[in-house]
């Protein structure tokens, strides 16, 4: 549907986008995720036509876009701060793009009513921009873009300006809206949780390059690089060396955890450096040494943070300066006991939960 082919964009000496090649499929909710300044917005603006690639080409439905100005592209955009026209009311904003549609006034009016219904703002047509809340502005921006029936809807961090509760609600609405209209959504965000919640696929970007394109589950459970593992969620990293590897089971010797067993990793050369990565919620905490566990380590409780539904605990290991992060579901209030600092605790984890990453 959208194809970037060796797209590069430089601003002076600064290379904002570096040889990006990627495919976005029809009807997919695709996210560009990365820290600020990683080039994700530049990529989006190249689809919209506000930036031209320095080299390479963007295709929409196999049509090269570089010769087509923004107003003739089959895409519409929801801007970061919505860019609602302050001199027009809600109807005026939504009708803005219909001027050249060739539709009769009645037909336009009918479509506007329908879309106001879709964004759950019926009866708001005569409101001015300054009489709308952040969430309502966002919906108007969506309606204004969707009424043009674009092939692709581009969204530039549209939820960034909303407070947490409203943002979560809009995430659900956005997702169901996308499924209703069946349009391809390209969504730019720096919020990894948002990207995981919404997307079919995510492209993780850093310093102008795409590091990995995968589904949310793949990105979270089996990241391919340490940057992705670190950027998405929290990750504990341990340096180590492979001792044995037979394609099914891998054993790694680490200074911090001792011997680690993993079931991932494929065929790896013995003696090579490797990075062992374990998510905080895959670690189990116990006061007694677990007899069955294949992977264990002894540590000392450090500080903890109570977050309501879960707790974040930090466990200090003897041979590691940084404490290990452990996430605990607060299933029962007895969790209080485990948060008491300075007691010895046993960490254990399954071989399946270990992610092996190339050492930096």
């Amino acid at each position: 549907m959208i194809r970037f082919e060796a797209v590069r964009k430089s601003f002076g000496h600064f290379r904002a986008v570096n040889d990006v090649t990627l495919d976005i499929r029809r009807g997919e909710f695709f996210s560009l995720l990365g820290p600020s300044g990683c080039g994700k917005t530049t990529l989006l603006r190249m689809v919209a036509g506000f930036e031209a690639p320095t080299s390479g080409e963007v295709y929409i439905d196999d049509q090269p876009m570089s010769v087509i100005p923004p107003n003739h592209r089959p895409v519409n955009m929801v801007f970061q701060n919505y860019a609602i026209f302050p001199h027009l009311d809600v109807r005026g904003n939504i009708a803005f793009g219909l001027r050249k549609s060739g539709l009769s006034k009645d037909e336009q009016s009918k479509q506007i009513d329908e879309i106001l219904e879709l964004i759950k703002l019926p009866g708001f047509g005569s409101r001015q921009a300054d009489q709308l809340s952040g969430g309502q502005r966002q919906r108007v921006a969506l309606a204004r873009a969707l009424i043009k029936k674009p092939k692709v809807l581009l969204l530039d961090e549209p939820l960034g300006a909303l407070d947490k509760k409203l943002r979560e609600q809009m995430q659900i609405e956005l997702r169901s809206l996308q499924q209703q209209v069946g349009i391809t959504f390209v969504f730019v965000t720096h919020d990894q949780e948002e990207a995981l919640t919404l997307s079919d696929r995510i492209a993780v970007m850093s310093e102008g390059s795409v590091l990995e394109i995968a589904s949310p589950t793949e990105l979270y459970e089996t990241p391919k690089t340490s940057f992705v593992a670190d950027f998405i969620g929290t990750m504990n990293f341990f340096e180590g060396k492979i001792t044995t590897s037979d394609g099914q089971n891998t054993n790694i010797e680490t200074p911090a955890l001792g011997s680690v067993h993993a079931t991932t990793g494929g065929q790896l050369a013995a003696g090579s450096d490797i990075l062992v990565a374990i998510r905080p919620e895959k670690l189990r905490l116990q006061f007694e040494r677990p007899p069955q566990a294949k992977n264990i380590a002894l540590g000392r409780m450090g500080p903890s943070a109570y977050l309501g539904d879960r707790s974040h605990l930090y466990v200090q290991l003897e041979n590691r300066k940084e404490p290990v992060s452990v996430a605990l579901q607060n299933l029962e209030s007895s969790a209080d006991r485990i948060r008491t600092p300075d007691q010895d605790v046993w960490l254990s984890w399954s071989p399946e939960s270990v992610v092996l990453l190339p050492a930096q």
Partner: protein, 270 residues
Amino acid sequence: MAYAARRRFDGFTIYAVAYLVFIYLPVLFLPLFSFNSSRYIAFPLKEFTLQWYEEMLNNPSLIEALLNSVKIGVAVAIASTLMGTLAAKAVTRYRIPGRGPLIGVIMVPLVIPEIIMGIALLIVLNLGGIDLSLVTVALGHMLLCVPFSMLVMISRMEGFDKNMEEAARDLGENSWGAFWRVTFPLVLPGIVASLLLTFTISFDEFILAFFLSSTDVTLPVFIWSSLRFPRKIPAILALGATILVVSFVVVTFAEWFRRRGVHVKTDTGV
């Protein structure tokens, strides 16, 4: 806080009142003496009269000078606001190499003494063999007014979201359509403010008008030449008082319009 504010009231109030008296009292003599029946500007006042206003209206060369000034003012206001708007759009919306020096060069007429500019322009016009007329006065005034207009328009254009124009383009307008349907309505308050400001500057500008006019004179030049004849002074006072009232109304309107613009701006900010 309220207490502190009240305490500050005393000392600064005296200063503020003294300041206002110093600034405005001399100006108020104009309307005062314009209604005084004596031909000489001196106390005590004599009777109330409107004869100077009558004399003013019956003086064809005064009316002609007034019309000249209005004509030049309108032309200069429109031309320099147009140029100022386009220049402001260029420097706020596009990446222009040498943007800083460019703005600096355009702003230079604000700091060059007008008498120097007047002489320089006179020399250039002479060399070019161009006869002095109201047109040359208007051109001189534009040199002064374009930077003012540009300053007003830059602050207006920086005040609203650049994404607005992109949104318009995204919704199917070409750059001309985006300008007329979005940019223009949003900068309109700035345009009105610029028109009024540049008109005012041109209307009371004396030095350039003096250097660059020939037999057709503008109002300030006419007033200056009339001052040599004490007989004519009361009519000038009447004219001055009239202009004072008109300026006051115009400036108040401009300020009201500008504030309305600021209001719109804060509303669009996210």
